[in-house]
Symmetry: C2
């Protein structure tokens, strides 16, 4: 079907302006949402922190777009040592920040894999010069115990390459650290990658400064000050930028890292009680099975009876998965 | 892993209360969102109504969870005759209503399939006695032109069966109209079902009255007035109800109707300009292909030149798919 914009009084810029206004509205809505929910999240935290295994049980029920990244060896540490999860829109108080920026914080008890008690991964919502926008991050180092690195050294290599690229000269040549990383990526094939490799996600290389300029230039464009000429200029200077970005993305060990952050933020986090309830129900069901197979007449009003009651209550008032609000 | 609620001071009811508080917050957020966006949707409508084929082009780019329901014969009428789409949360002004209730309205120009100029499908967000909540609807009749019924008579049968079930005595026996519908469903296998069969979606049979009572009884439960005894009573009276619902669902011709409504409301509708832009880009790309194959040195600064410019502009400032805000 023919696209019909040329034959109308509407310009492409008109549509971009409307989309930008929707984008502004969305940031307001996220701000409102965060303020409306903050007390509730605090109450939830107070309540669920009294339930041992709350977060491990939630993770066990994680939807496929999260669960697919959790390997059996990751489960071993997540199910035994995860004590808390916290998601915050840390950039909301910052006038230059975007409310879609998010921090995802995992707390762990002492475990045999790593020394860290807290692993925090921050994602910044940024706009690139070429119009792209989305979540970017920085690699987070994990203090693995001896021979326990679930990423097989990959995460350390990302951290090393990142440290060098931030201090070294800007170039499209690979640094020695990047070459080591690239060789590792090429040789492993990246199948069965650990969930913990996600802490190495970087995404597009858009700095806070570039993002700020892109947002400002978009604002100016909307005021009608920047026209075709400027658009062309940006296109030209973008070429080196994009080449750098291609190199960056070829060294990305977790290309879906931003999507995974969104799934945790918008699904696992708000629906955690719902997932926990699912876990309880499954547990009750398997208790019932056990009971009816082997235990029908013995001791059935203790563990078995309790579980059955839980299950029927669960059925009568179980929280349903909420509609998304966007 | 053992579910651990029994060993804690936290009860199942505590968790249900928190979920209910989140649910209340969510309705507030949807109200805020609707009021924040209403002027913008009006502006968008004013702008895109000047673009012929705006909505057909949006539909052409619909994501798979919508596109999978559009058959080639549906496309014929949707692409040639759809002139407007409108989504409204009609129940927001109603204090008893749920802001998640939604009306999806299609407007059509004269076409050879049906007489209707407007097809409006309303969905009510309701809570059942058994704790279920979600979108339900009522069948919408379409005035098909002779031999043009894209549902092969199915939609009419649903409307007939529905009309009788609302006036006739409450029973789990099938009425003659329901038997005709059941026979049709059993004999056709329901493959390649028309998109327009969606107008026949009913979903769970939860009346406004039942929903109101369920919401009230949930409120009472939260106040601590209703305890285990009432939960048991509800379970008992639910049995006939559930049997009726099973019959209802066995006659449902579009079981995913509620999900489709959510996809239209939360994806196609807010991201319409984004989908339209995608259609423009694809068009520009195929123009470019055409040009380089057959037209390289002739007249290239007319149609081809324009398209190329559109494409580069599109690249530099194309609206990206927004993060969901829930």
């Amino acid at each position: 079907m023919a696209a019909a914009l040329e034959e109308t009084p509407v310009t492409y810029e008109d549509l971009v302006d409307i989309e930008q206004a929707f984008d502004d509205a969305e940031t307001d809505i996220i701000r409102y949402q965060a303020s409306r929910l903050s007390d509730l999240y605090a109450l939830r935290h107070k309540t669920v922190s009294q339930i041992p295994n709350f977060w491990p049980l939630v993770l066990e029920q994680a939807p496929p777009d999260i669960d697919q990244y959790i390997q059996p060896s990751d489960s071993a540490v997540l199910l035994s040592a995860l004590t808390n999860l916290d998601v915050t829109h840390f950039d909301i108080p910052n006038p230059d920040g975007d409310p879609r920026s998010v921090s995802i914080k995992f707390e762990f008890s002492t475990n045999e894999y790593f020394e860290d008690k807290v692993l925090e991964k921050k994602f910044w919502y940024r706009r690139g010069r070429n119009g792209w926008s989305g979540l970017v991050s920085e690699p987070v180092k994990i203090q693995w115990k001896k021979d326990r690195d679930l990423t097989g050294g990959l995460l350390d290599m990302v951290c090393d390459a990142w440290a060098v690229s931030r201090t070294g000269p800007k170039t499209v040549e690979l640094s020695p650290e990047q070459l080591i990383l690239k060789k590792k990526i090429d040789s492993t094939g990246m199948g069965g990658l650990s969930f913990f490799a996600w802490f190495g996600f970087i995404g597009r290389h858009v700095s806070a400064d570039e993002s700020k300029k892109a947002v400002e230039s978009e604002r100016e464009r909307r005021k009608g000050r920047a026209l075709m000429k400027d658009v062309r200029t940006i296109d030209a200077t973008d070429e080196l930028e994009e080449e750098e970005d291609d190199v960056g993305m070829s060294l990305e060990i977790f290309p879906d890292g931003g999507d995974l952050a969104v799934s945790i933020t918008e699904d696992l986090w708000p629906s955690a009680i719902s997932y926990f309830t699912q876990a309880q129900e499954q547990d009750a069901l398997s208790d019932d099975d056990f009971e009816s197979d082997d235990d029908e007449n013995a001791d059935s009003d203790r563990a078995g009876g309790d579980s059955e009651e839980d299950a029927s209550q669960a059925n009568s008032s179980r929280p349903v998965k909420k509609l998304r609000t966007s």
